[in-house]
Symmetry: C2
DNA sequence: TCAAAAGTGTTAGATTTACACCCATGA
DNA sequence: TCATGGGTGTAAATCTAACACTTTTGA
């Protein structure tokens, strides 16, 4: 009564994290040169193995924490990647997750210690195994998600200007939008609240800072971008 | 040079198939009572284990084939389900797939031999483990997909009436639509072609049969439903 | 002859898009 | 004083949604 499925084979299962950040008007992902064999030196996502006593979701959160020291981060599963030869060493099935973090929350020293870098999503180098595919799929999913859920705020500081928010949308969707039309749509979203604070770093005149009000969002049915 | 990841543990990986069919105006899934321990007798999806030498996608196709005898079926991955205790027997991570089949292509004898049944998506019984969750997620994904890709035809016979197509959309999305508006939208899609044939089974007057023209679709940028 | 499904257009309202100028400020 | 990004409204076009009657035919 202990071994139920013994005629079948077991495999390694790993998780890989596509960590998105937004900085200098660019959507970026965190990648590094692989520090172990097989594939040493190739650009790669940060990943880890799923332990015997943790859920796959937990393994992903743990892996993200190892790399960034951040917890309670917005993460969503991208899917399982399971070609037979995707890992040159052994059979490994990997489950990809994407995470959205505010670049400023990530200690740059920690980043350097792990040897990972923020790379523009549109300028990815050739990558280890199927990692590029993972990133592409994650990006598509994130693009779809941002249309129906207010996830942009995960990538921005708590206070942000409308121009920053617009640049984020443009970077995610890969196309520019009209400033006036964009702001009109934002005005209809009561959960994006104007504060009295002004940001002077982006312009001489200064721009009002806005914040995301989660409670207001939950009451507001009116979301679409 | 053979064991790279030996400090990590291996787990069983399975696939589970959410097989959608459309019949009598209803969207249905194929489920059966589980014939093995653990969970014997509980309603369950049809699944199988991923072999050491097959990709996860191939395992899903093979599993579908075992159950239905059908190949080259539209299948998409739903995602990985990886709670520690999702399987009462052993640690098993399962990767769910949904498939769209034309109910008429599935030999009813084969169905009975496997002890599976077509159950209305809106009237699911309590189910084994996380299978209900899998079905719900598959349905949501399919609903999203049908808006941007012409997958409805996978669920219909090659020739179908506009009323059938409309009922399918209604069943998938769970809400009725206006007949005239629906037909207007279909007229704009040049890849849905009217044939000269008439179906008399659905009404006394008879309705024109239509077919999906894949080539025309690929040229036609104009899709939205 | 009547019940049941097939087929067909118009209009009002809502949404989307295109578009250009003035403002405030620090350098 | 001027270069830079911040901020604002209107009108045309498109899309969406609501709505009702005639046709055909087998029972």
């Amino acid at each position: 009564m202990t071994i139920f499925y013994s005629e079948h084979s077991k495999v390694y299962v790993s998780v890989d994290c596509i960590i998105f950040g937004f900085d200098e008007g660019q959507l970026r992902v965190l990648i590094g040169k692989r520090q172990m064999d097989p594939g040493r030196g190739e650009w790669s996502l940060y990943g880890g193995f799923v332990g015997a006593h943790e859920s796959v979701d937990d393994a992903a959160s743990r892996t993200l924490f190892e790399l960034t020291g951040l917890r309670n981060i917005y993460m969503r599963q991208v899917g399982a990647f399971g070609s037979v030869d995707r890992d040159p060493g052994e059979r490994v099935i990997s489950i990809a997750y994407y995470a959205l973090i505010n670049v400023k929350d990530y200690d740059d020293r920690l980043r350097q210690e792990h040897g990972v870098e923020w790379v523009n999503i549109n300028a990815l180098p050739p990558m280890y195994s199927d990692h590029r595919e993972m990133i592409k799929k994650a990006r598509r999913m994130m693009q779809d998600k941002i249309k129906t859920e207010p996830i942009s705020f995960q990538l921005l500081p708590q206070l942000f200007t409308l121009t920053q928010l617009q640049r984020l949308y443009e970077a995610v969707n890969g196309e520019e939008v009209d400033k006036r039309n964009f702001r009109k749509r934002i005005k209809d979203m009561n959960f994006i609240e104007k504060t009295e604070q002004i940001d002077k770093t982006g312009s001489k005149r200064g721009a009002y800072l806005y914040c995301f009000n989660k409670n207001a969002f939950n009451e507001d049915t009116n979301f679409k971008l």
